[in-house]
């Protein structure tokens, strides 16, 4: 993953960048599978590697496939990124170890979900119970986000009207 990330930052050819980001996402999905988060890995692979790559390629066709070369070395942003990364790594020092049973996340509502979801909700997949039933509001919000995203794209990019107009012009011409 680290090699892919460095290559991503280094490359100028945006087509290669899109392909590499797909590879990066797939690697992340594999990491999620290793950590037993199959649902998350599934989503990551489908959305990140599949849809996002197609949409990025689509926007490449609309714009340009080469990044503009900046003559000046940008040290300010580099320092900013390094600083933010250092702060994030410092933050992880306080986090409990992976799989630590005494971690706060495992002591709050998780035991109740694991104990009672079979009786209260039913499905053997507790992730589904939590997402759809216990956290129904959150999932509703996510659906609204997706709806808003699609609606925003339609409003911003004109519902492909230019395409249809061009088709009509072509039909009239022929």
């Amino acid at each position: 993953m680290a090699v892919t990330a460095v290559a991503l930052a280094w490359l100028r050819n945006l087509f290669a960048v899109v392909m590499l980001s797909g590879i990066f996402t797939l690697t992340a999905a594999v990491v999620y599978v290793v950590m037993d988060a199959v649902d998350v890995a599934f989503t990551e692979a489908a959305v990140g590697a599949g849809i996002a790559t197609v949409l990025m390629l689509g926007s490449l066709v609309l714009t340009t496939a080469e990044e503009k070369v900046q003559p000046r070395r940008a040290f300010g942003p580099l320092a900013m990124v390094v600083l933010t990364g250092a702060v994030l790594v410092y933050g992880t020092l306080d986090m409990p170890f992976y799989g630590d049973p005494s971690a706060p996340a495992h002591g709050h509502v998780a035991p109740r979900y694991i104990r009672d979801s079979g009786r209260e909700v039913g499905p053997p997949n507790i992730v589904t119970s939590v997402l759809a039933s216990y956290r129904g509001y959150d999932t509703l919000g996510e659906v609204f986000v997706i709806f808003t995203a699609a609606a925003g794209v339609i409003v911003l990019m004109g519902r492909g009207r230019r395409y249809r107009g061009r088709e009509r012009r072509d039909a009239e011409r022929s």
Binding site: P123, T128, A132, S133, L140, F147
Partner: protein, 145 residues
């Protein structure tokens, strides 16, 4: 377009499998990994693959943009409607237990319905966004035609 003959044949074989797998993920989410969101994305990718190989014009005849826009709203409305149905039947918003006589059966019905709503919206959103992107003037399909 003969140079993409292999792509055409392979995708013709694969697309039904992809769509079937999406339905499996949709309705098997209670038992294995997956659910409405993943199913919607896979279903949408199936159509996007079709549109990439056979051109957006053909894909628009299969799934017109108007239908995806209706499905986009219908999924959200279905999700919200299930919540309102819970209120009407005497429970709280998004409380599925009152949807059927048995609380577990109600939960099952409610989850199935809202997952379907999620899947519908996500698939429609993916296809809509793809149509809009591919429908711009400098799209690859335009160049071919």
């Amino acid at each position: 377009m003969s140079h993409i003959a292999v792509l055409r044949v392979v995708s013709k074989l694969l697309i039904p499998v992809i769509l079937l797998f999406a339905l499996y993920v949709q309705f098997h989410g209670d038992f294995g990994p997956g659910g409405g969101f993943q199913a919607g994305v896979i279903f949408g990718s199936g159509f996007i693959l079709y549109a990439l190989i056979f051109g957006t014009a053909v894909a628009r005849r299969v799934v017109p943009a108007a239908i995806t826009r209706i499905a986009l709203a219908a999924g959200v409305l279905l999700y919200g409607g299930v919540g309102v149905a819970g209120i009407v039947l005497g429970g709280q918003y998004l409380d599925y237990s009152v949807l059927a006589d048995d609380a577990l059966a109600g939960q099952h019905l409610g989850i199935a319905l809202i997952e379907f709503g999620v899947g519908l919206t996500v698939a429609a959103a993916m296809i809509t966004i793809f149509y809009v992107f591919a429908g711009q003037d400098r799209g690859p399909e335009d160049a071919e035609q």
